[in-house]
Symmetry: C2
Subunit: 191 residues, 2 copies
DNA sequence: GAATAATATATCAGTTTGATATATTTGTCA
DNA sequence: TGACAAATATATCAAACTGATATATTATTC
């Protein structure tokens, strides 16, 4: 028990290991495909770059948590990764531990917070740009949800569905906030 | 115009500069005090560590954006930082640029997404822990809002107030999602 | 037939975190 | 009064991660 030295008093800070193991627990794929998943399916709550994906995959292979298979065809280099039973144990071990950190880093809020340096006009612009972006994200998320609704017998899709619902709920509340914030600013300006 | 090489086609990726300049635009303070602000006032939308604060302060001084003043008393080392006019220009320049990235990194959602490896029972536990945490955060945010409501003549506090309202709105929607997600799981289990 | 987009792996400098080291002062409680 | 814990304060480092870039092939569009 007690994989990867969590007993040594050090926090389990490297998350990319589990993100990639998680993706591979669904199906075998290439590093490129993992990046695409991070940019589409997971993008509303988690990110990841090539600079983190490829080195982590090599490390996971050395640790025996994934296996490589050269599936190059013609001249196109292609390495397909699969999760091992040991990798799956490691993933489950992590999944059962309590969450260490949920973090929001919204530059929009940062610029809004320091906004009195440039005035309410600047704040309003940032809120409007944020509003437009949220509307776009909501369209995407609603498409995801509609699509998913057809496959809810599958347990994997049930979990996916819950995260999409989270996204929809939060983006809807962002839009409400945008509306109220703009009204509040108008009220302040009126006086 | 066009401070700090944004013209060279490189993204302005270092955010800590502006976080610290922003804090100093409100009032002069020490690095330790800046860390406290990040851990209290800003913690709902931005973080920061000592390992990033102190080196950045030294860099900002070299660039002429802040000035140091030794305010040690008795044996306690203490350096008070103040923003310069050039630093303020640099801050305003950044504030007027469009937001580059708003990012959410919720480990809770990650564990939920991959949760079919450990089953719905594990998912429920993560949701419940998340729910408890959100309730606590909401209490803090509501205290902030109540407190702030007294000082809304001040423009700095108006901006602060809008960000607190954002936090309240989102945490309330998180709680709604927790409720609905638990109901959904129960429904799935019933079948 | 040429240009552009997509597939695919890989690396690197710069940024940030989380932890730790060090030292003093203030507050608590017995 | 004395002992212990908490708060104040600066500083550094390994490890993690991002954003950008390099390289090369195949597929698509015009």
């Amino acid at each position: 028990m007690d994989l990867e030295g969590a007993s040594k008093g050090m926090a389990n800070t490297k998350k990319m290991d589990y993100v990639l193991l998680g993706l591979l627990s669904h199906e075998s794929m290439t590093g490129y495909e993992m990046k695409k998943r991070l940019d589409t399916t997971l993008r509303f709550f988690w990110g990841g770059s090539y600079g983190s994906i490829y080195p982590t995959l090599n490390q996971l292979e050395k640790e025996g948590k994934v296996t490589k298979e050269d599936t190059s065809s013609n001249g196109r280099e292609k390495i397909s990764y699969s999760i091992t039973e040991y990798g799956r144990e490691s993933l489950r071990d992590w999944l059962r531990k309590p969450v260490e950190k949920d973090e929001l880093r919204y530059e929009t809020l940062l610029k809004l917070f320091f906004g009195n340096e440039t005035g309410m006009e600047g704040a309003k612009e940032h809120i409007e740009r944020f509003e437009e972006k949220c509307k776009g994200e909501l369209v995407v998320l609603n498409m995801f949800a509609e699509n998913l609704a057809q496959y809810l017998e599958d347990d994997t899709h049930k979990h996916y569905y819950l995260t999409v619902k989270f996204g929809i709920k939060t983006y809807e509340s962002y839009l409400e906030w945008c509306k109220e914030a703009k009204e509040q600013i108008k009220e302040w300006e009126g006086k």
